[in-house]
Amino acid sequence: MTDESALIKAAASLDSDALATIFDEYAPAIYKYLLRLGAGSQEADQITGDVFARVLEKFSEGKGPRKNLRSYLFQTAYHLIVDDSRDRQRSTILDVADTVKQDLKPVQSVTEEKILLEKLAGIMERELTEEQRNVIVLRFQEDFSLKETAEIIGKNVNAVKALQNRGINRLREAMSREDGGE
């Protein structure tokens, strides 16, 4: 924690080494988070650059985070992708499912679990609302706490709990429905 504070302090004074350390540590995670929220690879790359540019801007103004830099970066990324998705009318909604499909191993080694994962990725894209998907990604894929998730999406903890429960229930129902349909 002290290390993070020192790192943030050095980055706030625009120290190149501290900024490079922050970028190396968080840029890949931000990129993956954006892919999981439905961004395409180019869009995720662009928004990742925008996230760090915004942080630089805040630091140069004497603002920006003083603690919990990771939450701050994810929050900035979330706001940017929400704005971007509103502009693009969610044209890349199925990119994550497609990406997951592309990254799956060849058919010979496909196991039952891989099939389930592929199905789950598709259901997450189709069945969940934007907020539900974001909460589930932050909670179970990015390992944020309820409080941190609430800060990132700008809601209280109870709202995050409700979004999480509704999202999981909808996923479970959809998975059971698809299994029964097979």
Partner: protein
């Protein structure tokens, strides 16, 4: 084949967690390019903030800038005061030299007043040429006198009548309030138009146009 049991919440969350590993990594070339751009942007911002009056050292920079601004205002005020003082000194010196210049003006005025006769303007002073009997040819009746004005006006009148120039001189002495070159008009009769300006003559009545017969 019997339908599978509905998945529990734990199974769903486990699957979601496993799905995490399926997300592709940031391509190395894109990541390197983004990092280079980010660090370059940081260097640019650092240069601009340290070079300008704002930024991380903005407190002192702003204070220095504010001091410089107040000094500039003081300097401008001093320059303005010195310019006004210089103008006042110049005016005072000019005031001391004023008698010399006024004498020079008088000389110029005298020089100018020595040549009024050369002007052919109607504003120039009129002069009268009176031809005496000895100079007249025998054809001309000696009882007549010709008065010649510079404008070419010849007044054949009784010599006992004062000349136009003399009349003008008398009018000037009485100072009727007219401007130079303004001729007095006939005062309007009481009850007629234009009572405010007695010098301006009333316009003569326009002759009635004969109506055209259709």
């Amino acid at each position: 084949m019997a339908p599978r049991k509905p998945m529990s919440t734990k199974e769903i969350t486990d699957l979601i967690t496993k799905l995490k590993s399926e997300t592709p990594d940031y391509p190395a070339d894109l990541l390197a390019a983004r990092k280079a751009a980010f660090l370059k942007q940081a260097v640019n911002i650092s240069i601009s903030t340290k070079g300008g009056p704002q930024g991380s050292s903005g407190g002192s920079g702003t204070a220095v800038g504010g001091g410089a601004t107040s000094q500039g205002i003081l300097l401008q005020a001093l320059i303005g005061i010195s310019v006004v003082a210089a103008m006042l000194l110049a005016a005072y010196a000019y005031r001391n030299q004023n008698p010399d210049t006024s004498q020079g003006n008088e000389v110029v005025a005298q020089e100018n007043s020595s040549q009024p006769e050369e002007l052919s303007s109607p504003l120039a002073p009129e002069f009268v040429v009176v031809e005496t009997d000895s100079l007249l040819p025998s054809i001309i009746d000696p009882s007549t006198t010709a008065t010649v004005t510079p404008g070419g006006f010849v007044d054949d009148s009784d010599p006992s009548k004062p000349s136009v120039a003399a009349a003008e001189a008398e009018k000037t002495k009485t100072n009727s309030g007219l401007h130079l070159g303004q001729t007095p008009g006939t005062p309007a009769a009481p009850g007629q138009g234009n009572p405010g300006n007695v010098n301006k003559p009333d316009k003569p009545d326009k002759p009635e146009k004969p109506k055209k017969e259709k």
